[in-house]
Amino acid sequence: MKSSKTAWGLLAPTLIILGLVGLLPFIYVLYVGFHDWMIFAKVSGLVWAGVDNYRELVFDEDFLAALGRGLRFTIWTVSIQMVLGLLLAHLLMKKFKGRGFFRAIHALPLTVAPLVVGATWRLLTIPGLGPLPFYLNKIGIDYNIGWSAQQAFFTTVLMHIWHWTPFVTLTFLAGLSALPKEPFEGAMVDGANQWQIFRYIFLPMLKPVILIALFLRIMDALRIVDEVWMLTGGGPGTATRYVGIHIWRVVFPMTNYGYGSAMSVLLLYFIIVVCWLLLTVITQAKREAGT
């Protein structure tokens, strides 16, 4: 087959680069995950441990709690981002005065580095310096993310939504830009209203892109580190210590490489399963709707 050869030729550079910087490190992490390896341990170097790390992990309450927190964070942020992104993309598609301006403003948070987003929000919310606690206090709301676990959680959620909704919107706009115009024109001619166009043309045609945005948001939210780390440091207590931050703490300050690697592999596996299930459910639904 000649055409298949062409396809492999087109894929080759991608596969080589991802193999080098993606697959090789993964194999190494997988290998380390079956070992005990701590920098400050009596025995230096890797010691074979079989599946001990994984056995321990399944009953590790700290890890499971961090995973649960990460999941809760992901569900809150991603669902709100998707709805907002969809609405905004729909609104930004229409022509109105100042559209370019609003679109640029809306995308602005995306240009700020996650680290800086964390720092900025910390400066907004730090008790004694930030304007948020100061002005909220004036209207009688006691706001202190260094103390209230609930407030800290929702502040990270709010920050994440503020930062990443533009990503969803832009992804949808990218998808929209390649769609044929005829169905929209046809619907207009047939006198369909806004809602019908949105529900029966916009949504189904945008489905592949919606799926992509959903995946990317889920995986990025589940493994989040730097943004939340800058804002709360994972606190107060363990309130915002999401699973990515938990692994970070095990690998770097505690230098427990073996256990950290096992955690990473398990989390990666978890994310893959979640995405695979979503993919199956959504493509299944499409097939059923099609018949």
Partner: protein
Amino acid sequence: MKQSARRKGLKQVFLYIVWIALTLITLFPIYWMFLISARSRVELFSNRNLYQTTIFWENFVRPLFQGVYGQYVVNSLIVATGNTLLVVVLAVLAAYALSRYRVKGGQNIFFWTITNRMAPPAAFMLPLFLLYSRVLRIGDLQLYDTHIGLILVYCVFNLPFAIWLLKGIIDGIPTSLDDAARVDGASTVGIIRRIIVPLAAPGIAITALLAWIFAWNEFLFATTLTSVKARTITTGLVEFVTVVGTNWGEMAAMAIISLLPALLFLVLVQRYIIAGLTFGAVRE
């Protein structure tokens, strides 16, 4: 007729109110960052106003001209632009292959590419560090602390993202156009260049923009895989957090500066993609 016009007017007003409210919410944290960059250390803790009449220029001048941050900005520009070019070219080729050909295991390859982006970063720093400083080393030549090293490693998160986004877009382009060109004797590369790229141009522009922003803002890889020569501006920002306390003013100032190139790129791409989005013209 008159009533419907009034209703339309009301709707318009409502829409503008929504947009203005959203704009204020979006801008406020960035505005606050600007306020902090314009205040001295003392002023920072005493002045709680939401406006500013003076600018404390030292926050900008000292790090940019007396420190190493100017060089860091240049490094970031090289790495982000290099990575974006590489990613967009490779992703268009790969997405086209996955969209148009029935490759054995194509679905699995497609899914595998995205799993590269799913990995939690912490544990993957060590193998990448070893790979860059020990394994791929010829004498003094190594990937550690080089621009090309960062350009390659950023493919881990940018390439899968670009392939997925572009495949969705290329899937939307009717295959009849390819077939027609093939009948006319165009090669595969010719089809990609003359049909796919122009039609997917707005999508490619957004992909490039997002990839560039991801690369420009990346922190964890940059801080692990560079030391002096290839350090980027985001790693520089953390250097303001020191044991004697954080220099918020200078950090905010550098953050503002690091935001400007991304903003410029954003505005340029936006202007370009608006041309591709023509539904609005149909709608009115």
